[in-house]
Amino acid sequence: MFVTLFRLSSLCLLIVSQVHGEEESPKDDSFYEAIVRIENTSQKANYSNPWNNGSIRRGSGTGFLIGKNRFLTNAHVVSDSRLVYLKKRNDPKPYKAKILHIAHDCDLALLALEDPSAFEKVPPLYLGGIPKLDTTVRAIGYPVGGDRMSITRGVVSRIEFNTYTHSRVDSHLSIQVDAAINPGNSGGPVVQNGKVVGVAFQGYNGSVAQNTGYMIPVPVIDRFLKDVGDGEYDQYVDLGISEFNLLNPAQRRALGLQKYEGLGVMVGAAYKAGSAEDTLQVGDVLIEIDGLPIASDGFVTIGADRVNMSEVVERKFRDETVQIKFIREGKEQSGEIKLRRFDPAYISGNNYEVTPRYILLAGLLFQPLDRNMYAAHKNRNLHQRYIYNYYSTDGIYEERPEVVVLTSILPDEVNTHFSMFEDNVVDKINGVTIKTLQQAYDSLHPEEMPDFHVIEFIGSGRPLVLETDRVEKAHQRILDKYNVTRDHYLEKPEKG
């Protein structure tokens, strides 16, 4: 309970510590010394030819010193990194850095120099609060258009929940500013009155909207820094439900809410394996979260601010709890929910720092369905598209934790009739329903080899049949011909 109160009060603190006044340039030039250019050499996994190591690219962004040998930047600036250098203002020497923590769900990363001596005398930047609407901020960084530091000014235009495009699936608080934020600005500080009020991180392509940059606000930065405080990043957590606003009078009466004027949202879907699976069910009406009454539009009031109830969960860490009050069949009940991440929702999220998992047999490439794989292939198959879109909401993950897809075929005489199976989702191999990639591998490599491998696909009435004698001969030939260095990789990555 202490933890809960602590989190909430910290949220209040952030809100009251809003910064006032007009933005002025700092008098002391050393302020800028804390802002560095980050050069990252990355290697992005190749999901079309997963045996390849991926293409090597260089990119750059911005970061800033926030404590003793601790630099903050965006996760996307240093994703899939092989080598990172920091560059100090007015100093040609690159300093080699390492990544301490990288949080893809909130697009933040923490770096440290291997040799911190060059920054020993540089004062770090301090975090401020949430800037007020219509106040001026400055974005500082190393964007395209030149090599030296650039500073742009803008006004805080909007503060609201928004999708973080780096992962595609996470939404957190973000602040829109009309300062020009361009590629290279990423990871740089946005400051007001000498304090950091955000980290510049995304914008629109000029053809969509102009002068709209977004920054990650201090509450999100703060949460990241607290999360990694124990030496490990634990990710955001989620209730694992979808709430339906209770604005309809008849629905309110039918659910027995006469006494709860203006309060309550209904659980419209409760997902298996979600945090709330043992506590809440469809039709329950949530009326209170951590002591805060939930309005019928899903908002709670903290101090003077109305924020979405998910904001309460946002601030929490893995294995922490929320206290809830809800109404089931007209009776008020209370419960405690231990929070964890709802993993199935991440099937459509980008993955970084991963080695693609696959099986290649007789030129047939099998891969588990995830965002990276989905983005690399054509996905013409209707079932695959359906599973991808409804994997988490329809509970498909319960019956098929991993969905294995025949994503492509390296043409050879052994597989010349199989093109119709491309993009199909594997249902069974040799009679076994396939629920993991490992299981697919084991089924294709039994101790006693059958005459035929029979692979059945979802929605395809005709199975794919492989003569095992021919597979044996063709397999090595295909590996050689197509320069395949490794015919499978099955290991599951650590969640990161």
Partner: protein, 485 residues
């Protein structure tokens, strides 16, 4: 003397009507149709009128294509020379085969010379496209049959014998159907033309004959179907697995539609069809027709026999050869979970306090344009492509909330749309009539509506909904709040 001869021959040609010709044997068919507006199913869309040509056949009947007669509201037959018009009605129509037979509601123009049917035209033959210019003079364009094939001219999934005809085609008077003639006899109906490739599709004589024969017995049953999906057996490994000889034929039955002809006759998924009525089927699914050459096996099932006929299938099941007699049947489109087409039938719907419930039809999905498979709500188009999940749950139709017309009593539900209904007032909903019955028994004054997905359940005040329905009639002019027949 010379001028007299010309006058004589003119007189002859105008009085002797023995020979058929475009001017003598055709009529124009003016078709006005109006389809339902599925988004607001109590309304119809703007009517549209098309002009086509019809071939006059024995008994003062007119044969033409079916496509533009769908949802017809008014049909008339026009004399190609005099322009005199007669109202007409549909005697029989088959949208799958794209054929219709019309008859005038008043006595036929007395000068019409009926056409006989020719069912022997095949690749290499020259056909004449008969048309009439707007001034009443004939126009004949010759073109050659380049290929005889089994294909569709209108609805997907319905393939029949057709001629592909090559050559430039011009259409007079906006015609959408053109009779094709060989040696003065009707050999087919041209129903589509690709101006880029300069090829036309012609519904073949044998299909017209089948259509007319079916009508002649007084009850039109339509073209039978087997109710299976098949795949080729070219794949040598697959052949070996199925214990098929290396260089033989046969098609693999990959799906058997529950309740269809094949299912009733005991054909099973995994069987291989080797022959149909003694005609060997090759590994691609073709057989050799004595006149038309290589044709898809479908012709042996859909185009030749009639409903009720027996077919002998030579099959291979688990390596064993056997014969299977199937009695051909035909399921009406309305028997499907999701109607593949909805012509001349009103969509079934119920409006409840602004909530619009409908039975899902493909016509509804087709409102999303030619790319509807990608643009229509995905859950619904997926249900259309793979209805078996819902069929197994015992549903006859898929009832869904199509939209919400904002009213006082559906506040908070405005954004809901395209949700499949599971239960209403505790009763499972298998078609719109179930919904109607369930709505007669509200639970403690509320209608409880359950969906298959988020938000899972909503409630409507039963009494308020009744009042709102009255208001809806007034405010939005919805004259009919339900149509369940």
């Amino acid at each position: 003397m010379k001028s007299l001869l010309i006058i004589l021959s003119f007189l002859l040609s105008s009085f002797c009507l023995a020979d058929p010709g475009p001017v003598q044997s055709l009529v124009r068919v003016n078709m006005t149709s109006q389809s339902y507006y599925f988004y607001q199913p109590w309304e119809k869309q703007d009517p549209s009128t098309r002009r086509g040509l019809g071939a006059v056949i024995a008994g003062d009947k007119v044969l033409t294509g079916a496509k533009y007669l769908a949802n017809s509201t008014y049909i008339e037959i026009e004399h190609p020379v005099t322009g005199k018009k007669l109202p007409a009605k549909i005697e029989a129509i088959d949208y799958e085969a794209n054929l219709a037979l019309l008859s005038p509601l008043e006595p036929m123009f007395p000068d019409r010379e009926p056409l006989e049917l020719d069912t022997d035209a095949s690749a290499g033959d020259t056909l004449e496209a008969w048309q009439v210019e707007s001034n009443g003079t004939p126009l004949i364009i010759e073109s050659k049959i380049s290929r005889t094939q089994v294909g569709t001219t209108f609805l997907d999934d319905h393939e029949f014998l057709q001629y592909e005809v090559s050559g430039v085609m011009q259409f007079r008077g906006g015609s959408v159907t053109v009779p094709m003639i060989r040696d003065g006899k009707l050999a087919g109906l041209l129903v589509s033309y690709d101006s880029k490739e300069q090829v036309s599709e012609v519904i073949a004589g044998p299909i017209i004959e089948h259509f007319l024969t079916d009508i002649a017995d007084g009850e039109y049953e339509g073209f039978p179907s087997l109710g299976i999906s098949v795949s080729q057996t070219l794949d040598d490994q697959f052949r070996k697995y199925l214990q098929l000889p290396e260089n033989g034929g046969g098609i693999y039955v990959s799906e058997v539609k529950p309740g269809g002809t094949a299912d009733q006759s005991g054909l099973k998924k995994g069987d291989v069809i080797l022959s149909i009525d003694g005609n060997p089927i090759d590994a691609r699914g073709y057989y050799t027709h004595p006149e038309f050459g290589k044709l898809e096996y479908l012709h042996l099932i859909r185009s030749k026999p009639f409903v009720g006929d027996n077919l002998k299938l030579g099959i291979l099941r688990s390596g064993e050869n056997s014969d299977l007699i199937v009695t051909l049947d035909k399921q009406p489109a309305s028997a499907e979970l999701i109607d593949p087409y909805m012509f001349d039938r009103a969509p079934r719907y119920i409006v409840l306090g602004g909530l619009v419930f409908q039975e899902l039809t493909r016509t509804y999905l087709e409102m999303y344009g030619s790319d509807w498979k990608n643009r229509a709500p995905f859950k619904l188009s997926y249900a259309d492509a793979y209805p078996s999940k819902y069929e197994k749950e015992g549903l006859d139709k898929l009832v869904f909330l199509s939209r919400v017309i904002p009213t006082k009593n559906n506040v908070g539900y405005e954004k809901l749309s395209h949700l499949i209904v599971k239960k209403v007032n505790g009763t499972k909903i298998t078609d719109i009539k179930d919904l109607d019955k369930a709505l007669a028994e509200p639970l403690e004054g509320f209608h409880k509506i359950e969906f298959t997905e988020f938000p899972s359940v909503i409630y409507i005040d039963a009494e308020e909904a009744g009042k709102t329905n009255v208001q809806l009639k007034k405010d939005y002019g919805i004259h009919e709040l339900k149509q369940i027949e």
